[in-house]
């Protein structure tokens, strides 16, 4: 059997059999769901505290219209501001000027103890605005004006269609945004997590000198390739397990969501659901995710492998790691801006540069971009991987036998030139 296969098999089985792999495979989706749900839960559970607000209304018309809700209670206050300030029963004092209806700007003030809450502020302003609007409309003395105004009001949702594709298809930029961000994050996580796994595993092998024994039977390059591919297969295994889980969940969840969509009056939600139900689109997206994931992982893990071979321990690796981490972070930042304008020239260029292309492309893909761009991006990425692994192998071959001094980036490049 080919020694590369033996190394891949060892690397793969050692990891997949470990408890930590099984646990992380199960826990990660739970963690992701938790991360999405927790902020919403926190927002629901920790609404604004109850506040009592003293109202000093010099206009005499607004105070009676103010409505209390669960959090905010308004109380008329007779007396001046100084009295109200002295009264500890009130959390805030709302002072309304006499000619507020004709001249609202700068005529209303809120005095609070502690920082004012945004929600309370907007609650008060929206109420006052509505009342003043109503009062002003009434002042025109036109019959049924309030009713006319209501009829004039419009709420609009844009139905967006792509005309550059063969088939006009309904798209939802909201869903594209969500999908783009989600797949991009998955990619980011995998590249960082598994790339670093390659690095730490090489450092470990170097540290306990098992590497010396392995390279006495196989070429160092084989060991490096075997490690990268073995860990890559672990990543693919994990992603496939998640894909199966996701499909299982959606089979169970989709009918529910579809019903919800049918019942819902919100047209953007209906659009999003129909796009999610579009199997061809989802298969294309998943296929691209896997291709970019593999390409991005191979590219970055070769860099990580070279770094791992050059140092003796994780602490020493931190400095060299910036070579890999900085472009990953830059790609992350660019991806978050690219979703706002998927066809900008920044987006197109960053989709071709292999350091940023996997993540930027994943962020853009759900918006539907020309097929040739995807192909160019993939070809450049895989070619760069071949170049990078060639360079890394040259560094690795020398680095694994270097102990002691922490090498600089310049030294790594010099190693690559050794015979």
């Amino acid at each position: 059997m080919n020694p590369l296969k033996i190394i891949i098999a060892r690397e793969y089985l050692e990891r997949v059999k470990r408890k930590s792999f099984i646990i992380s495979t199960i826990l990660m989706p739970l963690l992701m769901v938790g991360m999405m749900v927790t902020p919403a839960l926190i927002a629901i559970l920790s609404g604004p505290e109850e506040r009592t607000i003293a109202v000093i209304d010099d206009s005499g018309v607004l105070a009676p219209t103010l409505q209390n809700d669960g959090e905010v209670t308004f109380r008329d206050f007779t007396g001046d501001l100084a009295d109200a300030k002295a009264n500890e029963d009130y959390d805030a004092i709302l002072v309304i000027g006499a000619d507020v209806v004709s001249n609202p700007q700068g005529n209303v003030a809120l005095y609070t103890r502690g920082a004012p809450s945004m929600q309370t502020e907007s609650y008060i302003t929206s109420q006052l605005e509505r009342t003043i609007e109503g009062l002003r409309i009434k002042a025109y003395n036109i019959e049924n004006l309030a009713q006319i105004m209501d009829e004039v009001k419009v709420s609009l949702t844009l139905n967006t269609f792509r005309i550059d594709k063969e088939e006009e298809s309904a798209t939802s930029s909201m869903l594209s945004y969500a999908l783009g961000m989600a797949t991009m994050f998955i990619l980011y996580m995998f590249i960082l997590l598994y790339g670093q796994m390659v690095m730490t595993s090489i450092i470990e092998e170097k540290n306990n000198r098992v590497l010396e024994l392995v390279v006495s039977s196989v070429k160092p390059t084989y060991l490096m390739m075997g490690k990268i591919l073995g860990i890559g297969f672990v990543a693919i295994t994990q992603i496939l397990i998640w894909a199966v889980l996701l499909v299982a969940c959606s089979i169970w969840l989709m009918p529910v969501l579809m019903n919800a969509a049918a019942d819902s009056a919100d047209p953007s939600f209906i659009q999003a659901m129909s796009q999610l139900g579009d199997t061809g689109f989802m298969v294309m997206l998943f296929g691209c995710l896997v291709l970019f994931l593999i390409g991005g992982y191979l590219f970055y893990s070769s860099i990580y492998a070279a770094i791992g071979s050059a140092v003796d321990n994780i602490q020493d690796a931190s400095q060299l790691q910036t070579i890999a981490i900085v472009p990953i972070i830059i790609a992350l930042v660019i991806s978050t801006t690219v979703v706002n304008d998927p066809n900008s020239s920044l987006a197109v260029w960053c989709s071709i540069i292999p350091f940023t292309s996997p993540m930027v492309m994943m962020a853009r893909l759900p918006f539907g971009i020309p097929g040739w761009e995807t192909i160019v991006s993939l070809v450049v990425l895989y070619l760069s991987f071949i170049a990078m692994i060639w360079l890394s192998a040259k560094i690795y071959r020398v680095g694994i036998f270097m102990y002691g001094k922490k090498p600089s980036f310049a030294e790594l490049i010099r190693w690559a030139r050794y015979k």
Partner: protein
Amino acid sequence: MQNYVIFTEKARQIGMDNIIEVDKVSKAFTKHVALDEVSLQVPRGKVYGLLGPNGAGKTTLIRIINHITAPDSGMVTFDGHPLTAADVPNIGYLPEERGLYKKMKVGEQALFFARLKGMSKHDATAALKEWFERLEITSWWDKKVEELSKGMAQKVQFIVTVLHQPKLLIFDEPFSGFDPINANVLKREILHLRDQGATVIFSTHNMASVEELCDNITLINKSHNILTGPVADLRRRFSDNTYELGFEGDAEAVMAQIKPIVKKMDILGTDRDGVTRLKLALPAADASRELLATANACSMIRSFNQILPSMDEIFIRTVEESNSNSSQTPPAI
């Protein structure tokens, strides 16, 4: 023309007698030269000692022979042809710094290494079982490596090095971490492998084991080959006419008689039977006749033999000489 044919024929024969020929191999790293035109020949079926102080370039040379690194210039011939990657399965190399995967089971791990050398799973399992029994470690098969002591792990490493029956075995400090009993077991196995036809290159700082095991040695210092030859020849060549004389009689009187003949004289002691032993340095080899005649006349000689220098002494002397006079050309034998 005739001469030329005879010459090449002879060269081929000589070449075939050497499993490894290193010809003017150089290797430089950024800050230092590891090997500078080093040449040596390792005869087939012998134990060959590769000696030298720390940092002399031994490990680099071994890595070049093992096709792990490539030389900057020069040539390595293996079994009569230029060394290629295809020869690696015929070499078993036990590096000085060695470890095993801690989380893997001993048997599984030994199988992994055996299969890397190109053995089939079936053959490897059979051969491993045999070796495990031979070294009495069968009960370790399902233990994790992290449960083993250093010496135990070394035994496993030794087995995976020799398991695939390579033509050439390279051991770098094989006895470090072993107790004397296990070190002896290992020595026995190494000699046994040689008797079965394997050639052994043996790198160590333990000169006693060099005397015991090696047929030939090469001494490398500061990236140069400074001494090469069969151990027996070297010890004879480095002998400085030192003898040990044992006699019965009046020690004072005898010593007074032989004093003019010897260069230097040390009393080694007198035993219960009244035999006094002296260590004598003679000015020349033929002075031994005069010495024996003189001693014989005034005492009863019990023993007389030449003291050959130990490899330790040869090592130290040669390295110090080469350090003080680095322009010196390597002495050839």
